[in-house]
Amino acid sequence: MTSNLLLSLQITALGMGLVFGAIILLSVMMSLLTRFTADKETASDSAEAGPVTITPIPSPSVIGEHRAHAAAVAVVMALAELKQSQAFSEPQTALVSAWQLGMRTRQLYQKGLPLARKTQKAGQE
């Protein structure tokens, strides 16, 4: 019993140690990762990335602009939602046809046939 308790104490110490060790390693890794991959056009990127991506904006200290930030975030979110909604409602086209269509489209843009181009758009909406 006491031995068990002792054992469990050791497990706790060891376990929490390992968890903290691993997490600290990960957090170092993350800072390096973000540092070495930092780039400009992040906002657009992450907005495209998916519905749950938040655009990091250097946030001001003024309250009013706090609101602005929240608004910006919400807008991006909503747009992302919207994006996704389209992504979902748009036909999951057969790859094949996609390829063929894609190719023909190229040909047509080269020569520009208004009719075809119009239908094209319809096709993608």
Binding site: L5, A22, T34, D39
Partner: protein
């Protein structure tokens, strides 16, 4: 022949119905009620409740090895269901708040103390090590991890652990706020956190799941299945080049796995296996683990507050327990209730996603240590 001898066959259902079945069916009805009327994690509690009901209809044959539930149980024995759910969850998680503030990760480690604290408590209460460890993991309020660990270490406790892990998720708005108020001052809860993260590039977001899988996999091999499937889902989504697979992960795969997992877990809740003192202890200890996780998370949050000279709002510590994404949401809500202009959601989600990583790692660490000791 004489049909009389058929009578026992015809009333076998009723004649084999036990008081235990009645109790468990009541339990199943409560679960279904909570799922539908209270909308408590309906996607899981509804199938679990229904499966529980089926498991307590005598001689239906559904829970035998040849029956449907018996066949579906293969999805738990091979851990495929919880892992597929993680693929879907991964495709729904956004790690950019964490990536933009890596030090938040520490909160995800502190938030796992309850797991080990409860393990100790369970040992004291006389549970064998393998069961004690499985019970502790409930504290992460992270269904797939709890189920994965339990099915490896203590399958006999799978049902109560799964039920606890999923139903406690819904207790977060009830359990956590009081603890937050108890352990933090209004002044602390009102701390504003400047949100000036390092910008996160698409490249970083794509490299993240790959690196996490490698690092965690090499450090804690037993955590590889959980962490890798979570990261695979995330990579499918964030890579942006495999929309078909990402959508499959977020829809058909997770939906089917969830329905089957719920039914199968529920089907293990037969009176014989579920109605005993241990179940009660497990549920209670799970609650304690949950509370301990929250408390230690908050205290660690306060520590970081002091170290940062009051720049960190301790509330986000409570989000480190995992319980993704509810805990992060509640922490932000608490701050908002004190001051309608105090937006700490980004920070809370950072801490919350770190908690998700932390609980998976803790689960793997426990698997490694315990499977070696028993």
């Amino acid at each position: 022949m004489n049909l009389g001898e058929l009578l026992p066959e015809l009333v076998k259902g009723l004649s084999n119905f036990t008081l235990g079945n009645a109790v468990m069916i009541t339990v199943s009805l409560v679960l279904i009620y909570l799922a539908i009327a209270k909308e408590i994690e309906p996607v899981l509690l509804l199938p679990i409740g229904f499966g529980c009901m089926l498991a307590n209809i005598p001689l239906s044959g559904m829970t035998t090895a040849e029956g449907m539930m018996g066949a579906l149980y293969g999805g738990i024995r091979t851990e495929i269901f919880p892992l597929l759910i993680f693929v879907g969850v991964g495709a729904m998680i956004d790690f950019s708040p964490l990536l933009s503030q890596p030090k938040m990760a520490l909160l995800g480690a502190a938030g796992q103390f309850g797991i080990f604290g409860t393990l100790m408590l369970a040992i004291v209460l006389g549970f064998p090590l393998n069961e004690a460890a499985s019970i502790g993991v409930i504290g992460a309020i992270d269904g797939p991890t709890s189920i994965y660990v339990a099915s490896k270490l203590a399958p006999e406790l799978l049902a109560p652990i799964a039920v606890a892990a999923y139903s406690y998720m819904s207790l977060i708005p009830i359990i956590q706020p009081p603890l937050m108020k108890l352990l933090t001052t209004k002044k602390e809860r009102m701390i504003r956190m400047d949100y000036a993260p390092k910008p996160v590039s698409q490249t970083a977001l794509v490299l993240f799941p790959v690196l996490i899988t490698l690092v965690v996999g090499l450090l804690v091999p037993d955590a590889t299945p959980l962490i890798s499937m979570l990261m695979l889902g995330n990579l499918l989504k964030i890579s942006g080049v495999v929309d078909r697979l990402s959508k499959a992960a977020q829809n058909e795969i997770i939906n089917i796995a969830t329905l089957f997992l719920g039914l199968t877990i529920g089907a293990t809740m037969s009176a014989a296996s579920f109605l005993n003192l241990d179940t009660g202890k497990v549920l209670l200890l799970g609650l304690i683990a949950f509370a301990l996780d929250t408390i230690v998370g908050l205290l660690f949050g306060k520590l970081m507050m002091f170290l940062s000279g009051g720049k960190i709002n301790p509330l986000i510590g409570a989000a480190g327990i995992s319980a993704f994404p509810m805990a992060g949401r509640i922490a932000a809500k608490m701050a908002l209730d004190e001051d309608p202009d105090n937006f700490i959601l980004m920070h809370a989600m950072g801490s919350n996603t770190a908690g998700q990583l932390g609980s998976v790692i803790a689960g793997g660490v426990l698997l490694a240590i315990v499977s070696k000791l028993i």
